[in-house]
Amino acid sequence: MRQGKYPFILGFLVAPVGLYLVFVIWPYLQTIGYSFTDWSGQTQTFDFVGLDNYTRLFGDEVFHNALRNNLQFLVFVPVLTILLALFFAFMLNVGGRGGGGVQPVRGAGLYRIVFFFPQVLSIAILAILFQAVYRSDGAGLLNGILIAVGLGDPASPVEWLNSPDLVRWCLIMVLVWSGVGFYMVLFSAAMQSIPRDVFEAALLDGASRTQTFFRVTLPLLWDTVQTAWVFLAILAMDAFLLVSTLTPGQYGGGPDHNSEVLATYLMRNFNVFGQAGYACAIGVVMLVLTLLISVITLRATRRDRIEF
């Protein structure tokens, strides 16, 4: 060990770790602290109420509802996004056939830009865009198309985001639509690091596209898929901005709590109902759940590493 190595490393670490402690860890600790109080969010005074906020969560139907909805997001957003992204990435990199050897499908460059495009839109633009898509009268994009092709009735258009059955699927579609591009690029990058001769060997052995994908591509990409899964699970646990802007209710969640997620219920308690202590308890539950889900995902999907 060389002399002065640790002071050198420490010198680099002090500033970022300090910032991290002050702006990330300290607020977390404060949140946990507030979750044991009846703090209203508007003052410096509050009383310690022990585990009251947490016991209240057990009997709170809206909270249960939000949890269920988050679970639905948690199942469908990662699965759909990863499947689509993998498919696109595969086709754009090694899906092409003919001409000898492995190549992208024709027009891959254009597709890549088109698919990645949603990623550069901010969530605010996304919300406005999809408000127009899901608009509940004939002026909405989907309703307009349905009516134009004779499937919709102008007198009773589909109220997409005001329908208890449709609202969650509408939101999942937006999340998937906006996420696919990024994961496609992530998977593309990972695919490009796989040596070309592996694919060519598979091709020489007469493997079809499907076989190549499941036997060669997917196993070699497993690490990246695992990471994507964790990121998407975290996104699904949050989904705050989209739900709060697109759905009815203060901070969204409507109709009748059918699109309620933990984050929207948290914000309504914090900002509208003046129950910041309770909101902090919801925040802590979100934190613990997200942690658990990430750890479980990483554990459950662990595979033997393939060296190449």
Binding site: T43, F240, P248, G274
Partner: protein, 473 residues
């Protein structure tokens, strides 16, 4: 070394994944954490007189934050320069839509501004602020001599009943400055072209909408994404049918406010007729206020519910010859109140925080707002009325919508004007009733179930010990 290298990369990857927790909802909380410390030096009162009842001393700073919404903030700047001139004050002005985001940290630090116009979608809930003793008691302002006539108290210069809107726990804590009326709105031109007369009874109302439907115009548009508006119609009908007692029952969290209240039952069933008979503008349940009101401006629907800010809000999408007009909510048979009765009340709450540094300055600013000079300049600037009685010179030219609203106010004696308070007092109950209304309008629940849901919201609010402090009569 190869294998350790992979291990390390793996470790970083996981750390990065776990580090992302900062992103979800929890991040919102970090911004709101309360801090310690107090406000520093407080400006003391100087000698008081009839002209200067709060003892404002010259040369002090005054910190004003106003909601910059439909009214803009130009009117406030005019007031501020008048104040600066009079008291040699150094004004710090902020016009913003994000009242909560900008001010919550300041309340928590104990360094709030001196005057706040706490309005808009991102206002801070006043019931919450009051519960935590963050608001100055404005009784002193009501008892102070008026600017225009030092022998009159400020409370005697206001439209009767308007100060009460700012009462929390029996005392005035907010000055709701703008006088607003609520009800239905229609296009005078559309009615004239078709030879229709505005309906006064609920039966005529339904009949007219049915007739319009035959001509391809929907009867009723409402701002479905924000059930607040539909609740105005429902609650107004309940008050008019059952009289002020029915309204008080709701505000006072009566165990029979909805279930077991005949007026509530008849009213909600009448409202449901609109849904049941297919008189709603198709899709209106999912539209927001801009979309639905614009559709109404395009004559796609006869009526839309709103307050008297509607005209200002819709200025850009209203055709020049639209001739916007106001209609009080039509009445049911054997209604306790007459047709001309309407919800009228003060809105746009101005507050002086309890921990304001320049509290005398803040109180004086509010007193000046209630002068003829300042309220006239407000009416000119934003075409709206203030709560100062007869303060606006007849010379101020008003647009058709607000003109028809003023006529409706003049036709309605003060004892027939009413205003609900539960929306200010009980945010959670309000939100629950809004949810029930959404369900009713979408035909997913029936009137009987709406009553049950609304009553459940009332009963829940009644369980909060803090609700004991609110009582109206």
């Amino acid at each position: 070394m190869g294998s350790t290298e992979v291990g390390r990369r793996d470790l970083f990857k996981r750390a990065a994944a776990l580090g992302l927790f900062a992103v979800p909802g929890v991040a919102a909380l970090s911004a709101c954490a309360s801090g310690g410390g107090d406000g520093g030096d407080v400006i003391k009162r100087g000698p008081t007189s009839k002209e200067n009842p709060f003892g404002v001393t010259k040369g002090n700073p005054l910190d004003v934050v106003v909601f910059k919404g439909g009214f803009g903030d130009e009117y406030a700047k005019q007031w501020e320069s008048a104040f600066a001139e009079k008291y040699d004050a150094k004004i710090s002005h902020l016009g913003t839509q994000e009242i909560r985001g900008k001010l919550q940290p300041r309340f928590n630090r104990g360094t709030p501004p001196d005057v706040i116009d706490n309005s808009g979608a991102q206002s801070i809930k006043l019931d919450v602020l009051h519960k935590q003793d963050q608001l100055t008691d404005l009784t002193e302002l009501l008892d102070a001599p008026s600017v225009d006539d030092p022998n009159k108290k400020v409370r005697d210069t206001l439209i009767p009943g308007t100060a009460e809107k700012g009462f929390f726990g029996g005392k005035m804590h907010a000055l709701n400055y703008v006088y607003t009326i609520w009800g239905l709105w229609y296009s005078g031109k559309l009615f004239k072209d078709n030879g229709w007369t505005p309906p006064k009874t609920w039966d005529d109302f339904i009949a007219l909408m049915t007739e319009a439907k035959k001509k391809g115009i929907a009867g009723f548009a409402h701002q479905g994404k924000h059930p607040y508006y539909m609740n105005v119609v429902i609650m107004d009908l309940i008050a008019k049918t059952g009289g002020l007692d029915a309204m008080r029952a709701i505000d006072n969290l009566d165990p029979k406010a909805f279930v077991g209240n005949d007026a509530a039952k008849r009213s909600i069933e009448a409202v449901y007729e609109i849904v049941d008979k297919g008189l709603l503008l198709p899709g209106t349940n999912g539209l927001d206020h801009v979309e639905s009101q614009t559709a109404w401006n395009e004559n796609k629907a006869l009526f839309v519910p709103s307050g008297s800010w509607l005209e200002n809000e819709q200025l850009k999408s209203t055709p020049a010859d639209f001739d916007m007009a106001f209609l009080p909510v039509p009445v049911l048979d054997d209604s306790a109140m007459p047709f001309h009765a309407l919800r009228a009340g003060a809105g746009e709450p101005f507050i002086v925080p309890a921990k304001a540094k320049n509290q005398p300055g803040g109180l004086e600013f509010l007193r000046q707002m209630l002068s003829k000079e300042w309220s006239t300049s407000f009416a000119k600037e934003v075409s709206s009325l203030s709560i100062v009685e007869g303060a606006v010179d007849p010379g101020v030219k008003l647009r058709p919508g607000i003109k028809s609203a003023v006529a409706a106010v003049d036709a309605c004696p003060v004892e027939d004007r009413f205003d609900y308070l539960y929306t200010e007092w009980y945010s959670e109950m309000d939100e629950s009733i809004r949810g029930a209304t959404s369900e009713l309008m979408a035909k997913r629940i029936k009137p009987a179930e709406w009553l049950k849901k609304a009553q459940a919201a009332v009963d829940k609010a009644a369980k909060d010990p803090a609700s004991k402090n609110n009582k109206r009569d």
